[in-house]
Point group: C2
Chain length 303, copies 2
């Protein structure tokens, strides 16, 4: 299935003239998920032509302003545009307290159901799944409770070999069982092994999101084997002391996590406003982990 | 003194591709004031080169999202940039409850003093004044408690006639008294009348801000004689019924208020997202009140 990440913002702490605060849209098949929602996210969604009413799940990593201050505005706009589908928001429980005050004081009763899910602070948790997708959170190491997110294809269903299915006239009612790995016995009693009825599945793909976090090897198992790992690199490595103090990561630290997790590709972002030119960050990260890309606003990255 | 208004946003309810939510900067002499602070205001301040750390007073008309959702981000950015001067915020008391939660949950202790002033819902109130400037609020008519603001030059001080002052060698210590209207007796006992030492003062200028509000004649005395009146015109007049229902104003209603208040100039804004082309709104308003301008983002308007 289609599986990609579109960057809407990759600035840390404060926006700059050319970079917006954190937000990204993950597309998996026909579903879209929003991770973080910094100030201006609704304008970025419009600018880059994302049909934001299709988003049904929003994941907020933590309650530093640059990761959630655009959420209320987006919720109000969804309301004003007459949304009907439920919206699920996952975040620190205080986020719902803030939203509740904002709704009350503006005398707003949302025209769609808002379902809030408080994140568990200390443990990895499956937040949502369907037949094809599983999304979970895991703890990061930051100055306030912060979560990373892991988006996985489940691929527990096999793809049918349509040509064989049609040739054998297998009834529709049998297909779900075959997708789950079952064989098929036809009306003459002949057994058709599952392998002859289905296509080889690809390995399920994984995207993992780590922002904001200090360097910590405890993150590694949660992002292990990611096809695409987004990891913050607020600073270059000469600022490792500042990074440690502020509980952020440097270029080389992000690359170390990607190496240890055996990630296939690394996407770096959450850049400090001090860096106008991001090429030195990219080069420094590639010095440790070659398959690195810079997050650029408006760009999509295949998982 | 310099007295002007710079528009940072003039969209109603939701931002559009080309218009941001409400915010404007009033400059009076060496002081800058911010009125309303919709989402993205900190980006707009940067985009238009406003030195935002010079702002010491922020006035929030009401707690609909398009008028205040950018405030928290601006306060955090002022903090991260090491502001030291006190910041005064005027608004509905619930605004401080929201900000308090946002500060607590992000473990932020602001490095500058934040002084919150709750607005009185029902009466006109002087909010701040110094020797030269007076700022007051007055009630508007909207779905939630909403305030307009009036910025006035006081001009209680006269301008000195520098040429005469220098010629007579009047000592510095006498000048403050002369500015307040006093005469001067020189060392020979000769009296110099105040009128010979000062320049004729101009009539003090007034800017008034009305957003959001239903049409109401009760507003007129509060904006009377404004040199520049900003009045919302969310809708064209064919939508007067919708305007009344949502407690907003139309083009002609804004013009009527300007006429009745004997304003010198009218600036219209807070346009519904349904209008791409704003010229019909301008023409309809000018049909009733000729001296009307459209609020355009990034533009400054002399008071």
């Amino acid at each position: 299935m289609k599986f990609s990440v579109k960057i809407l913002g990759c600035s840390s702490a404060t926006p700059t003239k050319h970079r917006n605060p954190s937000a990204q849209v993950v597309t998996m098949g026909d579903k879209m998920f929003l991770i973080d929602c910094g100030e201006g996210t609704q304008m970025q969604l419009r600018k880059y032509g994302v049909k934001f009413q299709r988003i049904e799940h929003i994941f907020i990593s933590h309650l530093h302003g640059d990761h959630y201050l655009g959420l209320a505005g987006l919720l109000f706009t969804m309301h004003l545009f007459g949304r009907s589908a439920a919206l699920h928001v996952y975040g620190n429980s205080v986020l719902m307290d803030i939203l509740r005050l904002q709704l009350e004081v503006s005398a707003t009763t949302l025209v769609y159901p808002l379902v809030f899910h408080a994140l568990e602070p200390e443990k990895a948790t499956v937040l949502w799944e369907d037949e094809l997708i599983r999304i979970s959170s895991f703890p990061l190491v930051h100055r306030v409770p912060t979560h990373g997110f892991r988006f996985e294809e489940k691929h527990e269903l096999l793809h049918l070999n349509r040509e064989r299915i049609e040739k054998l006239h297998i009834p529709f009612g049998e297909l779900a069982r075959i997708k789950r790995g079952g064989d098929y016995v036809d009306s003459h009693g002949k057994l058709h092994a599952n392998a002859s009825l289905t296509l080889k599945r690809e390995a399920p793909k994984v995207f993992a999101y780590c922002s904001d976090t200090a360097y910590s090897r405890e993150i590694v198992p949660h992002v292990a084997g990611a096809d695409l790992l987004y990891h913050e690199t607020t600073f270059m490595h000469d600022m490792a002391a500042t990074a440690a103090e502020k509980q952020h990561s440097t270029t080389r630290q992000a690359a170390e996590i990607a190496l240890e997790a055996q990630a296939k590709k690394l996407l770096i972002g959450h850049f400090s406003a001090r860096y106008d030119d991001l090429m030195p960050l990219l080069e420094e990260t590639r010095g440790v982990f070659e398959r690195t890309e810079l997050a650029e606003e408006g760009e999509s990255y295949e998982v």
